[in-house]
Symmetry: C2
Subunit: 228 residues, 2 copies
């Protein structure tokens, strides 16, 4: 499956690049400047070794993939989506990983602002063609932990979206990452809650002087596809 | 320690009554009607056996305890706090367990409304004497699981509050319940996030057809008092 990661040069995006490429996926790192994407793709291939397929591209080109993962800070999120909207395929799956942290307006990382559309993911959906299948995910996964390939992932991924098939596809990618589990958290509006967990984790990190607080959902031995 | 539970006749409140009384605490169940509180206290003593100290009282009397735990639906929360405000001691610790579920306005239990003060706990704080030490907790703990004394608690309690000593006292009560852990989630404003987790758990329960989804915080082996 063709996957691109817009913002793949940042911590979260680069971590997802490494994990998804190591699982055998072809990953394109999108960047505002194509050369920057290519340089970071070189670094990824150096880390992963010869078998990995990672390329770099300008965001507009990366946006044409089947699955487009967007990992950018909230302050620039709308602008990025407007810049790629004419390039995203109508049947694409777009995975938004944005958390509306108050840092976007000079505030604290353990506070959030409230996007007009309810969540950052819904703001993104409002910019793209209505046919695009939007999924929100990865808010509780630290970029640092993703990048450390020896680190066993402990936190679960909450997946929100209205299209069940799109959630299953994204869930399949998550299942390819060792020890990472996904939980179907409901429709896209549930991102209003899931996105704010990033700030809560940062608050806990700050209180306990740690770096990678996460959440595991309890109440069932296995999660993933509901009904399975 | 004298503990009272306003709303102790409801699922969450009765579950906390059983668990805290079993741990050796003296618990008063508050109810709008004193006789109703006493009747439910009788039931609790029947379940727990002779050693347990559980009494019933009218809310106004129950509100004079050292630690007042309030477990009421959001729709009636402000009214309950106004009815007890003149009875709560100035140095009391008040633990608010309210989640602003949209059911309060005829909506869905997996949606929330946004309290004017930011969170239900901050709304409660605004009603009480400013000296009262407010803590928000127990949003991710199912009343059903608490009432089933054979059930090993799996979900962590997120504790929010601005007074560190008050959080430590509440944390001590939580530590008395077998398998229950508490995580200091930050100051009282973090309840804006923690309270909404109830709705997210209900969304997950609904999707997976289960009853007690919860959260465990990962990233540290032990939680509780920060710095310990």
């Amino acid at each position: 499956m063709d996957i691109s990661i817009i913002g793949g040069t940042g911590d979260e995006g680069f971590g997802l690049t490494l994990r998804l490429a190591r699982a055998g996926n072809r990953v394109t790192i999108g960047s505002r400047i194509a050369e920057r994407g290519s340089a970071v793709a070189d670094t990824a291939r150096e880390i992963l070794g010869a078998g990995a397929t990672v390329d770099g591209a300008a965001n507009e080109e990366a946006a044409t993939a089947d699955v487009v993962i967007v990992t950018v800070p909230f302050g620039g999120q709308a602008e990025i989506y407007r810049s790629i909207k004419d390039h995203v395929k109508a049947d694409a799956i777009v995975v938004d990983c944005t958390s509306p942290l108050a840092t976007a307006v000079g505030g604290r990382a353990w506070h959030v602002v409230r996007p007009w559309h309810g969540s950052a993911a819904e703001q993104a959906k409002a910019i793209l063609d209505p046919a695009v299948r939007m999924v929100a995910a990865f808010h509780t996964i630290s970029g640092e932990a993703l990048q450390d390939l020896e680190h066993e992932m402990e936190s679960d991924v909450l997946v929100c979206g209205t299209d069940k098939e799109a959630k299953a596809v994204v869930g399949g990618l998550i299942d390819d990452i060792p020890n990472l589990r996904w939980v179907d958290a409901g429709d896209l509006t549930q991102a209003r809650i899931a996105e704010t967990l990033t700030a809560l984790m940062i608050s806990i990190n700050r209180t306990y002087k740690i770096h990678d607080a996460g959440v595991r959902i309890t109440g069932r031995d296995a999660w993933g596809l509901p009904g399975s």
